[in-house]
């Protein structure tokens, strides 16, 4: 059964615990705003280093890791788990088992992530990029992820639908990988491996966070919401499974591409580059499926805000996945590694693709959770255009800055470092402007969601 629609999967009785999903989403909104604002404040420091500079808690290094923790864990991970609590019951036709656990995990996660973030500002970080939270927070994080994983697995075991739709594959695998990977990257690696081995395994961890947690959870959303919203069957279930296995096969081995030309064994670096090339496969399977599924429904882009976000995210996904393999090549690495180019790539993927897809899902789900229509389509439209405009400015500025600085530093050895900093400082200014437009967009979004829940028009019950 490749056709999924809310009708075919949902049923007479309500299976989604709406309140739980809503609460997870509310918590993700908080970090969406805090995390992005921290990014915006950090970006101002590139042009005005004294801005908020005399307070240790707000100094550059600490704010920068606070930004990452805020958006990657506070925002995306929270939203993704919330989505799982919506999508899994819909696709299995059963309620999530142990309903109280969804709330308990939320409270535990609120405490964990909030304390973790405060620790970063206070100067307690364990020195692992994208795993900065200190050890005791990591243990709590593993508990939250672990219990959520078990809960989802048992729910699927109790399922009423025999067929396991591709989104379920992605969600179960994503959760499992996230647990394993979090243990490897945060509990084992920093304490048992030194130096070069540590860096190598850190690369592995880092790319598994983006490739085996953020990507599968985001892709699960795309595969669920696209058919449900367009009411078209998924173009090819086989293709979607091919993409899944491609991801599982090629992603974990590419970590060393974060440390090319380092003392890590050359063959490990080479495999990581080859594997990066192969990632084109799973990406194309997702994109082909999206285009196929959209067939005959492109006109929905003008009327449905969620379709707009899905399509724009897909466009960015195509760019990400051309950029990724290209920048993994040694000749490209020479220039763009260590520069703003990579920062552009990171935002393109996590913001441009997965944050946008999450928003698409939320625009669709929120009315179902609250029983009210989206408060203002006009604000939703503002959200879309602010995000698109802001991000375009940011991305172009970062890529230009990366090429300029990378060129200056690596094509000649006699250019003083500080001259390269001065040369790209106008681009940093542009990035800030773009970034603050993005933040404005996100603020509009959160306001719109809040008002929807408060005063949106009631939807007439449809059976």
């Amino acid at each position: 059964m490749a056709v999924i629609s809310e009708k075919s999967v949902s049923q007479k009785e309500e299976v989604v615990d709406k309140k739980a999903v809503k609460m997870w989403f509310y918590y993700s909104f908080i970090w969406l705003i805090l995390g992005m604002t921290a990014g915006g404040l950090t970006s101002i420091k590139f042009n005005f280093p004294d801005f908020l500079g005399y307070v240790p808690w707000l100094s550059f290094g600490r704010m920068r890791i606070f930004h990452l923790g805020g958006v990657a864990f506070g925002w995306f991970s929270t939203a993704a788990i919330g989505m799982a609590y919506y999508i899994v019951p819909k696709l299995t036709g059963t309620k999530i088992v142990w309903p109280k656990l969804s709330y308990f995990l939320l409270y535990l996660w609120i405490a964990t992530s909030t304390i973790g973030q405060i620790c970063l500002l206070a100067g307690y970080n364990q020195g692992v990029e994208v795993g900065e939270w200190p050890l005791f927070i990591d243990i709590l994080t593993v508990i939250v992820f672990g219990l959520a994983t078990v809960q989802v697995f048992v729910t699927i075991a109790n399922r009423k639908q025999k067929h396991i739709y591709v989104s379920l594959w992605y969600i179960t695998a994503g959760l499992t990988w996230a647990c394993l990977n979090y243990v490897v990257g945060n509990l084992i690696n920093p304490y048992f491996y030194a130096g070069v081995d540590n860096a190598s395994i850190h690369g592995f961890y880092l790319h598994c966070v983006v490739g085996l947690w953020i990507t599968p959870m985001g892709t699960a959303m795309l595969y669920y919401f696209l058919p449900v919203i367009t009411k078209n069957p998924v173009y090819s279930h086989k293709l979607s499974m091919l993409g899944f296995w491609g991801l599982a096969l090629f992603y974990p081995i590419i970590g060393a591409h974060h440390y090319l030309y380092s003392p890590i064994e050359t063959w490990v670096q080479t495999i990581s580059i080859m594997s990066s090339m192969m990632l084109i496969l799973p990406v194309w399977s997702v994109i082909t499926n999206q285009v196929g599924t959209m067939k005959g429904k492109w006109h929905m882009m003008s009327s449905h805000i969620e379709v707009k976000f899905l399509v724009l995210g897909a466009v960015f996904y195509v760019i990400t996945c051309f950029q990724g393999p290209t920048q993994a090549l040694r000749s490209m690495q020479l220039i763009i590694h260590f520069t703003d180019w990579v920062v552009g790539h990171a935002h393109l993927a996590i913001y441009g693709v997965f944050t946008l897809w999450t928003w698409a899902g939320m625009y669709y789900v929120w009315p179902k959770l609250t029983g009210r229509e989206i408060y203002s389509q006009k604000l939703a439209s503002w959200h879309f255009w602010l995000s698109l405009l802001g991000f375009s400015i940011m991305a172009l500025a970062l890529w230009a800055a990366g090429l300029v600085q990378g060129g200056m530093l690596n094509l000649a050895s006699n250019v003083p470092f500080i001259d390269t900093v001065k040369a790209i400082s106008p681009f940093w200014m542009m990035r800030s402007i773009g970034g603050w437009l993005m933040i404005a967009g996100a603020a509009v979004f959160v306001y719109n969601m809040y008002m929807t829940a408060k005063v949106g028009k009631h939807i007439e019950e449809v059976a």
């Binding site: 420091k45 590139f46 550059f60 020195g127 990029e129 990988w177 490897v184 070069v196």
Partner: protein, 294 residues
């Protein structure tokens, strides 16, 4: 119930491929490559032992991690491109054998620090840590003023770093030094044995290039117009020299100045400038001289 094939497949995806990749690509090389043996080839080609961190350096490394310096500074010299020319000999695995976790970094908002040890004097490092913009005009590095005692005006006193501040600089001064002093491979103390008989004749071109060198390196202490009152000067005792008054302590001929600039002044914040080439040092003197006439 979960079908057997589903269960098997899930195990394959979730555990198998992840763990297989980890073992093949990461854990196996980590076991076999002997990256964690603290030995390096030094600048003369001998295999030498890397000494563990001292307590002070260890503390400094903790501060380095705590302030997330690693977000802005990478710590390995790549085996390609201009890295070697720019920063020094390519990094070797043994140099990192004591690093839990590694601070390789993935970003260079500031320069690589893998070979920072010995590049600058402690005095420069303290001045820079407290006020990077004073030392490198246009720098965007934060001012780490909380690693210094406050003077009577509430400004950080760069001659009085806190214990943590000292530890941090001790750590920086140790970075990349286990291969020996590549900046001075013969070990002849060129710094203390400056032997120049006479100064070149100063030309307007020299003054011109001297201006840029001065503004990038000296203005932070000596002031942009040479009055000895640069942004970092307030906290310095003795204060930086005022080049307008030009009452020099250690001899006022060009050759005397050359010696002072090359060696620095021990016990004061005045760094040794052997990092500048000889001709750059002459150029900066040519420029300093222009202050006097005003």
């Amino acid at each position: 119930m979960i079908t057997t094939s589903f269960k098997g497949a899930m195990l394959g995806a979730g555990f198998g491929l992840y763990i297989a990749s980890f073992i093949v690509g990461y854990a196996y090389p980590a076991m076999t490559a002997k990256n964690d043996v603290p030995k390096v080839k030094d600048i003369h080609g001998n295999i030498v032992e890397v000494r563990p961190y001292t307590e002070l350096e260890k503390r400094g490394r903790e501060i380095y991690i705590k302030e997330a310096c690693w977000i802005c500074h990478s710590q390995f010299v790549r085996s390609a491109g201009m890295d070697e020319k720019r920063y020094g000999p390519v990094s070797q695995a043994g140099e990192f054998a004591y690093d839990y976790p590694a601070t390789f970094g993935t970003r260079r908002i500031g320069p690589d620090l893998a070979r920072e040890g010995g590049k600058r004097t402690d005095g420069w490092q303290y001045g820079h840590l407290a006020n990077p913009q004073a030392m490198t005009q246009g720098s965007i590095m934060p001012k780490y003023v909380w690693y210094f005692e406050k003077d009577s005006n509430g400004e950080p006193d760069i001659t009085k770093p806190t214990e943590d501040g000292k530890a941090l600089i001790a750590y920086l001064q140790r970075l990349g030094t286990s291969i020996g002093d590549f900046r001075n491979p013969e070990g002849n103390k060129k710094a203390s044995s400056v032997s120049v008989a006479s100064a070149p004749k100063f030309t307007p071109e020299m003054v011109n290039s001297g201006k840029a060198i001065y503004e990038a390196n000296c203005a932070g202490c000596h002031g942009i117009n040479g009055n000895g009152a640069g942004p970092a000067a307030a906290a310095l005792n003795p204060p930086p020299r005022n080049f307008i008054k030009a009452d020099y302590k250690y001899g006022s001929s060009d050759v005397d100045l050359f010696k002072t600039i090359t060696n620095g002044v021990k016990g004061t914040a005045m760094p040794a400038w052997d990092s500048l080439t000889e001709s750059q040092r002459w150029e900066v003197i040519a420029y300093i001289r222009t202050f006097e006439k005003k």
